[in-house]
Subunit: 312 residues, 2 copies
């Protein structure tokens, strides 16, 4: 059972919250692309960036960024919307590159053909590169863009942390472990390490960025780091479970692909039942970390529950 903390608002409508944040994020992504990407060139890259950013992505990472900012001071989305969009760009770039023939060779993503199928391989490589770079361009944009003043030193810290999480201190390293460990059995510790790099690092960076840019205290940032570590791993364990139990129509991607590729997953290493227990325990631990926060953290609390209840 998910522990319901004392201050947990049972009237909170998570679906409305997620939908409203998704809408804001999509709007900003669209505007940033329009404003800063040179569509005047008739650019194939612009089209492919738009194609891959659009669609029914959950926007889980940028929403976590926003929710973390709200948790530390009941703050405003505007404080962190650029960082949130940048994080979604980085997530999208990683999907494009992971899907490439030389890596996972996936044809369907977010319910439509992957970038290298819809365009071609060279375009997909370059579009990933463009989104990764565009993320840092967005992160370092002048404050005027949102009409909000963000402390420059805090912003530099956030840029540093996101770069670390996306790079060889996180996602890139995790994907390398993933690609090179196919057809080889990982221990549970190696698997946890791989997941913490591949998925956990950017989820942690999302929460960290929201907490720092939202003006959080050192104590709040520290607590949210622990929260993020737990839900980050829970998120990936649930992804592994969905790859077995999920419905492709709902997920927008094929199921069963991990088994076919002999990928190391939680269900493969510890079994399906134990995987579910692990995910639940991680979410419980995450919720406990939020005890010191007031109702401003309710979105984070509900998102933690959603992470293991989601169908896609």
């Amino acid at each position: 059972m998910i522990m319901i903390p004392k201050r947990f608002d049972t009237m909170f409508d998570l679906n409305s919250y997620l939908a409203s944040k998704q809408k804001q994020i999509n709007l900003y992504l669209d505007n940033l692309l329009k404003k800063y990407s040179d569509s005047a060139l008739g650019s194939r890259i612009h089209d492919a960036m738009k194609y891959t950013l659009a669609g029914n992505g959950k926007r889980m990472r940028p929403i976590l960024c926003i929710a973390a900012a709200e948790a530390v001071k009941g703050g405003n989305t505007q404080d962190v919307i650029l960082a949130a969009c940048a994080i979604e760009m980085i997530h999208t770039y990683s999907l494009i590159h992971d899907d490439l023939p030389a890596m996972d060779n996936d044809n369907i993503r977010r319910g439509k053909p992957t970038c290298h199928i819809a365009f071609d391989e060279a375009t997909a490589i370059l579009t990933g590169d463009a989104l990764l770079t565009f993320a840092f361009q967005t992160l370092s944009l002048n404050k005027a863009e949102t009409g909000k003043t963000v402390d420059s030193d805090r912003l530099l810290k956030v840029i540093n942390r996101i770069a670390f999480a996306a790079g060889n201190g996180g996602m890139v390293e995790g994907q390398m472990m993933d690609v090179s460990s196919e057809n080889r059995n990982l221990t549970i510790n190696e698997l946890e390490k791989m997941h913490s790099l591949k998925t956990g690092a950017l989820i942690s960076a999302s929460v960290y960025s929201g907490a720092v840019l939202g003006g959080g205290t050192d104590g709040q940032i520290e607590a949210l780091e622990i929260f993020a570590k737990n839900i980050g791993l829970a998120f990936q364990v649930k992804d592994d479970i969905l790859n077995i139990e999920g419905e492709p129509e709902i997920m927008g991607k094929a199921a069963g692909t991990d088994i076919i590729r002999n990928k190391n997953t939680y269900p493969l290493v510890v079994g399906l039942k134990e995987s579910k227990k692990i995910a639940q325990n991680l979410v419980n631990s995450a919720l406990k970390t939020l005890d010191c926060f007031d109702s401003g953290a309710d979105p984070l609390r509900h998102i933690a529950g959603y992470i293991i209840e989601r169908k896609k």
Copy 2:
């Protein structure tokens, strides 16, 4: 003939200058990689980053960054060494991705097998991603790293400009034009556009970063922007010329590849003789822009000349 401005120091030893800066840059690159890249994982990515960053690269872009900082106040390399290293990481990432089978499919780079040949394609894609990300991690590093205080707002401007130049406002767009215009004749204007995106943008950003982080005034930064635009194009025209006339042993890569691939180059579009004239005129214009600078700009003056005299 190259115009020799009044204050041009004919005793200046460019080779010593380049060698000394190359040494500094290589040392910092090596230290950054040791310190921030997780070699403890026994990481293939770490090895591939080291492999591609090492070698006999000219380090032209980071040296331009340092020389620009020196020009605006006779300043110190320390002000800009992190930005200089980040720029070299971005340049190296772009070479790795451009060399991939889906793009230029090159086997030799900087005198040794390209990354996807020495490692494999998945590793090469990820290593490019890692270097691109590592560049922004390096750019946003705490000032403590160099013992120098850099103004945070200036640093954010530099990050924004470098991201723009590397991304779909520059290199990525230029490479897309390059890949998609093989077997199609470009006009001289289209060719100039492609070069200004593919090569010019990062060269401009290098000079801009040095000028801004070196504490340049708006007027100095503006003048150096014009200088950079001219030498950036001259650099690429010379590259086109070298691809025809250069010696593979000196260049560390094959010659004649542009013709084989039916690539659009200056010699192809306007002829070899006219290409040399264009390059010379661009360098002359660049030198003229430096007239308002004192002897602190001598390295930039000599580098401008070197750009069209170089053999690799």
